[in-house]
């Protein structure tokens, strides 16, 4: 029941339109690259300074001087370009990147996101997350609907330290696809085998259900 990580990625891939520049966060977002439909030309931005991120290299092409923001060895593509971190975040801050896909610990019904810090745990840092969420024109969050203890991660207000305010537009979880509206989380699609009631139970923030909710098609 519910979508697995690859299915979440596959569903998000449908949001990626031809001609987009896209920044993919670490984790599920990275998997999205595997499911971009044939014929949809997109350019992946890696915030450490690369446009046009290609697949992982074959063993003989591994280059220590060519990594992505997750520090994985990668490749370039015909038409790639490389630049400094200042230029890279100029690109992000200047809203040249069309779509950002990232993970989250919590999202509020206003579209606030928390994904960088858990009080009491070692804080590793926000990396580029605050820049990305403060600037992106369009942000989609990939996450589990609930935490391991069953508590909702779609909240009225975030309880964890905030990464950015009112910035999330869409959320794809294991249970549902939701849009963040002025009035709360609007339910767009439900995962196969998941009922509206299941989603309602797993959602602490205000859930808006209008009419029939179709199943996710992937």
């Amino acid at each position: 029941m519910g979508l697995d990580k690859n299915q979440i990625a596959k569903r998000i891939a449908k949001e990626v339109k031809n001609g987009m520049y896209v920044n993919l966060g670490i984790g599920i977002p990275t998997l999205v690259a595997n499911y971009i439909p044939e014929g949809v030309e997109v350019v992946l931005q890696s915030e450490n300074g690369l446009l046009g991120m290609g697949p992982f290299p074959t063993e003989d092409k591994v280059d220590a001087d060519l990594i992505n923001a997750g520090k994985q060895t990668i490749t370039t593509l015909p038409g790639s370009s490389i630049f400094s971190s200042a230029e890279s975040f100029g690109m992000i801050r200047g809203e040249h990147v069309d779509l950002t896909i990232l993970g989250a610990m919590e999202v509020s019904e206003q579209g606030d996101i928390a994904n960088w810090k858990i009080p009491g745990k070692m804080v590793k840092g926000m990396g580029g997350a605050m820049d990305l969420v403060a600037s992106a024109k369009n942000i989609i969050v990939a996450m589990q609907h609930t935490a391991r203890d069953g508590s909702s991660k779609l909240l009225k207000e975030c309880t964890l330290p905030i990464t950015g305010l009112k910035c999330i537009k869409k959320i794809v979880t294991d249970l549902a696809v939701l849009e963040v509206t002025e009035d709360g989380f609007k339910l767009l699609e439900r995962a196969p085998g998941v009922t509206v009631e299941d989603i309602q139970k797993a959602t602490e923030g205000r859930l808006i259900v209008e009419g029939d909710i179709p199943e996710v098609q992937i």
């Binding site: 890696s46 915030e47 450490n48 300074g49 690369l50 697949p55 992982f56 290299p57 074959t58 063993e59 591994v62 280059d63 220590a64 001087d65 060519l66 990594i67 992505n68 923001a69 997750g70 520090k71 994985q72 060895t73 990668i74 490389i82 630049f83 400094s84 971190s85 200042a86 890279s88 975040f89 100029g90 992000i92 801050r93 606030d112 070692m122 804080v123 590793k124 840092g125 926000m126 990396g127 580029g128 997350a129 605050m130 820049d131 403060a134 600037s135 330290p161 905030i162 990464t163 950015g164 305010l165």
Partner: protein, 232 residues
């Protein structure tokens, strides 16, 4: 053309002292100034403030300086992958200031470009914005952030010439160009040092004016953090 060449790391780091603020290029372990870090270890200077996007891993990069307790404060955007770092932080031996990566890059760029402050949306409404001036432009809120400068900047390039011009390779560029401009004294180590005139003036990433000392490094390990490959 002014010649910036020095013999080696030892000569390049003359004048580095305890309690200085240093910038170190690199993203993760990619594009870090390996030779300069080795020389910092040898010198044993301490109470350093290090500005670097990351803090290395336990046994490589800035992690080595942490192990020898040479660092008092790290200014970074992300400091994971480092157990010793975590131990020192929790015990209070080490101070850390976390800055959003784009803000860090831009503050360093501002330091080199003589811009004392600028406005960025990153961090507004978060704890990063606490105590900082914020302001609205065109209906959006921004934080005012100030420049960062360093007593010494250590950068690593692929090729360099005796005039101090630098060319970086791949994503090893990252923070290196801005740091080169933001150091009072900038030390560049390069994999290949060529005579002035061998690099195309049109293809220079960092103009020589920013570099005070340059040397050809040796024994680059270029360690990879996440070796990810596909089958052909």
């Amino acid at each position: 053309m002014i010649n910036k060449t020095v013999k080696n790391a030892q000569e390049a780091l003359q004048g580095v002292q305890d309690s200085m603020t240093l910038m170190l290029g690199g993203f993760g372990l990619c594009g870090i100034p390996e030779n300069s870090i080795q020389e910092l270890l040898r010198l044993g200077v301490k109470d350093l403030t290090c500005i670097s996007n990351n803090a290395g891993v336990d046994d490589f990069g800035i992690g080595l300086l942490l192990q020898k307790r040479q660092v008092r404060k790290m200014i970074s955007s992300y400091v994971g992958e480092n157990a010793e770092f975590e131990r020192q932080l929790l015990s209070g031996e080490l101070e850390v200031e976390l800055i959003p990566q784009g803000t860090l890059a831009e503050r360093i760029r501002a330091g080199g470009a003589g811009i004392p402050a600028f406005f960025t949306p990153a961090g507004y409404g978060t704890e990063v914005g606490e105590g900082k001036e914020s302001r609205e432009f065109n209906g959006k809120r921004y934080l005012m952030e100030e420049w960062l400068k360093a007593d010494f900047s250590f950068v690593k390039a692929w090729k360099g010439d005796t005039a101090g011009n630098l060319i970086f390779k791949g994503t090893a560029r990252n923070f290196n160009p801005m740091m080169a401009a933001a150091g009072k004294i900038t030390v560049a180590e390069v994999e290949e040092l060529v005579p002035a005139g061998e690099l195309d003036p049109n293809m220079i990433h960092t103009p020589g004016i920013y570099v005070q000392r340059i040397f050809q490094g040796e024994k680059y390990e270029k360690r990879i953090e996440q070796r990810t490959v596909r089958t052909a």
